[in-house]
């Protein structure tokens, strides 16, 4: 069993925590599945002899569990509204809200297809990406035939041609995970591949408790790349801009990141763009706020400061939580309700827009 404070995604401990050789012990099935709001045994064995699928391991049927007490797996789906921190989820957010509202996260639930989104294709869909009815560019809860029966989770995590057999066994004990191409540590949170290229993924520093508790000096760190052009059709350059979180997101949402026109005006919100320095409103964002993370042009340590002068950038996760959040458009704060109520998270960077 993994130590509870493990910062890695790599699994350690007894094999039986995750695998069952025959799906049978003492006359009972050992594999289990999440069904509705509870777990139940199933006689259907899983691939790789694992005892359950992604949701089975990363779900808690209560509101307070943020880490699986047996495997140490981070909980990304609480059946009850998460209550273990103010963010109501770990760094990536929580799928709790997606279960009933597709506008609040990535709907990965195969038993709850995206039925309210119109259009159902990924917003900002990569126009050059797959358009077949089963493509994840069309619906993230689709099952890609070429990848077997994997769930929506693996449209982002463990998205390699070598399937997911080795990911949880990869050694991601480096401080900076996924810093090199074909990194044996399998990249930050196993976010690999696809448009960012085979052998590429996301580089980052993983917080020890996945930001269950977070502060200026206690948080994830994300790699960015400000050198990529923001002008014109960005499908290829932005998505292929390296091991950055923005590049990864652009695998599906690339059209959102054609950000500047020929005149240099911003026509969409910048991403992987260095915050303005002295004399701009962005200079007012100097102490790292985990609610509004930034990307760095290089990673070596967890920093409690933010500085455009040092190359710190706004990125996709500055505003969004990848899994889900209590808020519309999976935003990190109640943007829609502001200024009548809600939170002016925008002012974290736009400090003159109080």
């Amino acid at each position: 069993m993994a130590p509870l404070d493990t910062p890695q995604a790599k699994v350690t401990g007894l094999c039986v925590n995750c695998h069952t050789m025959h799906n049978s012990q003492g006359g009972a099935s050992m594999a289990y599945e999440l069904s509705g709001g509870s777990f139940s045994a199933t006689e259907t064995p899983n691939a790789a002899l694992v005892v359950s699928d992604c949701l089975g391991c990363h779900t808690a049927i209560d509101a307070s569990t943020w880490e699986d007490p047996t495997t140490g797996a981070p909980i990304v789906y609480n059946v009850a509204e998460p209550s273990f921190n103010a963010a109501k989820g770990l760094a990536g957010g929580n799928f709790y809200w997606v279960k009933t509202d597709d506008t609040k996260g990535h709907n990965v639930f195969s038993d709850n297809p995206e039925d309210t989104m119109n259009p159902v294709v990924a917003p900002g869909k990569n126009p050059a990406g797959c358009a077949t009815p089963t493509s994840c560019h069309v619906r993230i809860d689709n099952v890609e035939p070429q990848y077997g029966t994997r769930q929506g989770c693996t449209k982002c995590h463990m998205m390699g041609n070598d399937q997911f057999s080795t990911y949880h066994h990869a050694d991601d004990s480096n401080l900076v995970v996924g810093s090199i191409q074909n990194d044996p540590d399998r990249f930050f949170r196993f976010l690999q591949g696809h448009m960012s290229g085979v052998g590429k993924g996301v580089s980052g520093i993983e917080d020890t408790d996945w930001e269950k508790s977070a502060s200026a000096s206690d948080h994830n760190e994300y790699l960015g790349n400000s050198s990529v052009s923001k002008v014109g059709q960005l499908v290829t350059p932005m998505a292929n801009s390296g091991n950055t979180m923005t590049a990864f997101c652009c695998g599906c949402h690339a059209a959102f990141h054609e950000e500047q026109n020929a005149s240099g005006n911003w026509i969409r919100h910048p991403s992987d763009t260095v915050l303005g320095g002295a004399g701009t409103e962005y200079a007012g964002y100097s102490t790292y706020n985990p609610l509004v993370p930034v990307a760095r042009d290089s990673l070596s340590t967890v920093s409690s400061t933010v500085s455009g002068g040092d190359g710190d950038m706004v990125m996709c996760l500055s505003c969004h939580r990848a899994h889900g959040s209590p808020y519309d458009k999976m935003l990190r704060w109640d943007y829609k309700g502001w200024p009548a109520a809600g939170t002016n998270g925008c002012a974290t960077c736009h400090t003159w827009k109080e």
């Binding site: 989104m117 119109n118 259009p119 917003p123 900002g124 059209a255 959102f256 054609e258 026109n261 005149s263 005006n265 911003w266 026509i267 969409r268 919100h269 004399g279 701009t280 409103e281 505003c319 519309d328 943007y335 829609k336 309700g337 502001w338 200024p339 009548a340 109520a341 809600g342 002016n344 925008c346 003159w352 827009k353 109080e354």
Partner: protein, 412 residues
């Protein structure tokens, strides 16, 4: 060891022929340095306070107000005043994507268009009612055909109608080299959409001035040490050193009457000293009308405005030799050199009359300039023209034959 003593200085020890302990000397130096730092800090911070202005907040602006701010009718669920009513971060909202526009606006910016400017998405056709200066601050008659910014810039009526030309405004602003570019919406030259406040009815700002929709062109990139472009013009009193109110420009300002009595503009009360009026002289001439060679599509090369003591009579020039102009109340004292604000005579955006002349001045309403240069209906709001005799009495010459800004004979 005993704690080091606080001493008054070296002399005492020297007089007593004693050695000065090292610890005491170090402590002395520490105290002196501390005192010096405190003194310097006091000077710096005191000076900073002197030059500071109130940094206006979006939530206090007309657009950011959570009950009366921006509210795009095609959006649902967003708080009034929310950024999304103007900006779409990904050119996509509520499942619908569209062409991406400059500054993440939901429609084309069209920065110099007199008819399709982005701001007219709301400030048109009564979507947002913005009456004329004459009506709001002079008490003039409301005109349902003239109650939006779009209509002000495109006057629907008037024989000599006029307006600021937005292309001219932007072009001149660019020429001043203070940060404006061809992408700058012309409206932004005078208004910061993130700080412009609801200025009607006149309301005290809490900082010595009044709520104001103005931001000086010069302040586009900020004027204080932090470079914050958040200085709403007219909301601060004189302590900031910017002289944002007319009273701070001159103690000789007297506001015209508000229509219907002897109350004064702009608040329809007894305040007449300009303490509740932005310093429009400074605002208008700041980077535009005090300069020579300002080009106007409608009016050619504009006259340089000179409000100094040797300039225009409506400014600080007090020339008794040319008479007092037979002024009427509240300008009845011949010994007083009345100094006017630009908006005492001119609409800021546009008018049914030429030169953006107001339709209600000093309580006189429905003023109409039906032919260019024939301003008698306008001027008589404050002057008894016939008392001048000659042409003034016969009315056979139009006003503009003799009078204009900064003309050596009959300057205003």
């Amino acid at each position: 060891m005993a704690a080091p003593r606080v001493t008054l200085g070296r002399n005492r020890y020297a007089q007593e022929g004693k050695m000065i302990p090292n610890t005491t000397l170090k402590f002395q130096r520490f105290c002196l340095i501390t005192l010096m730092l405190v003194a310097v800090s006091l000077v710096v911070f005191t000076y900073s306070d002197v030059i500071a202005y109130y940094g206006a907040k979006y939530t206090e602006s007309a657009h950011g107000d959570s009950t009366s701010g921006v509210n795009r009718s095609t959006l649902s669920g967003y708080s009034i005043g929310n950024c999304a009513h103007c900006h779409e971060q990904h050119a996509s909202i509520e499942g619908s994507s569209h062409t991406a526009y400059d500054f993440e606006l939901f429609a084309a910016n069209n920065p110099t268009s007199q008819t399709a400017n982005f701001c007219f998405q709301c400030h048109k056709d009564g979507s947002v009612q913005n009456d004329t200066y004459s009506k709001n601050f002079g008490g003039g008659t409301a005109d349902s055909d003239f109650n939006s910014i779009y209509e002000a810039f495109n006057p629907p009526t008037g024989a000599t109608k006029s307006s600021h030309n937005l292309a001219d405004v932007q072009s001149h602003a660019i020429g001043r080299s203070i940060g404006f570019t061809s992408n700058t919406n012309a409206c932004v030259v005078c208004h910061d959409p993130h700080t412009a406040q609801d200025n009607h009815p006149v309301t005290a700002s809490g900082h010595g001035g009044v709520y104001s929709a103005l931001r000086r062109p010069l302040d586009y990139f900020g004027t204080d040490s932090a470079g914050e472009p958040r200085n709403v013009w007219g909301d601060d009193d004189s302590t900031g050193g910017y002289n944002e109110r007319m009273i701070d420009y001159t103690a000789k300002y007297t506001a015209p009457y508000y229509k219907g009595g002897t109350n004064h503009e702009p608040a329809n009360n007894t305040t007449d000293d300009g303490s509740n009026l932005p310093n429009f002289y400074n605002f208008c001439v700041n980077n535009c009308h005090t300069r020579s060679g300002v080009s106007s599509t409608e009016h050619g090369t504009l006259t340089q405005i000179d409000w100094s003591t040797t300039g225009d009579m409506h400014g600080k020039h007090h020339d008794s030799s040319s008479g007092w102009g037979y002024t009427i109340a509240p300008y009845g004292s011949e010994s007083t050199n009345y100094v006017m604000a630009c908006t005492d005579c001119h609409e800021p955006h546009g008018s049914e009359n030429e030169w953006l002349l107001r339709t209600c001045v000093n309580g006189k309403d429905n003023i109409s300039v039906t032919s260019s240069g024939w301003w008698m209906d306008f001027c008589t709001a404050c002057h008894v023209i016939t008392m001048g005799g000659g042409w003034h009495q016969s009315g056979t010459q139009k006003c503009s034959n003799c009078h204009t800004h900064s003309w050596s004979v009959g300057y205003f």
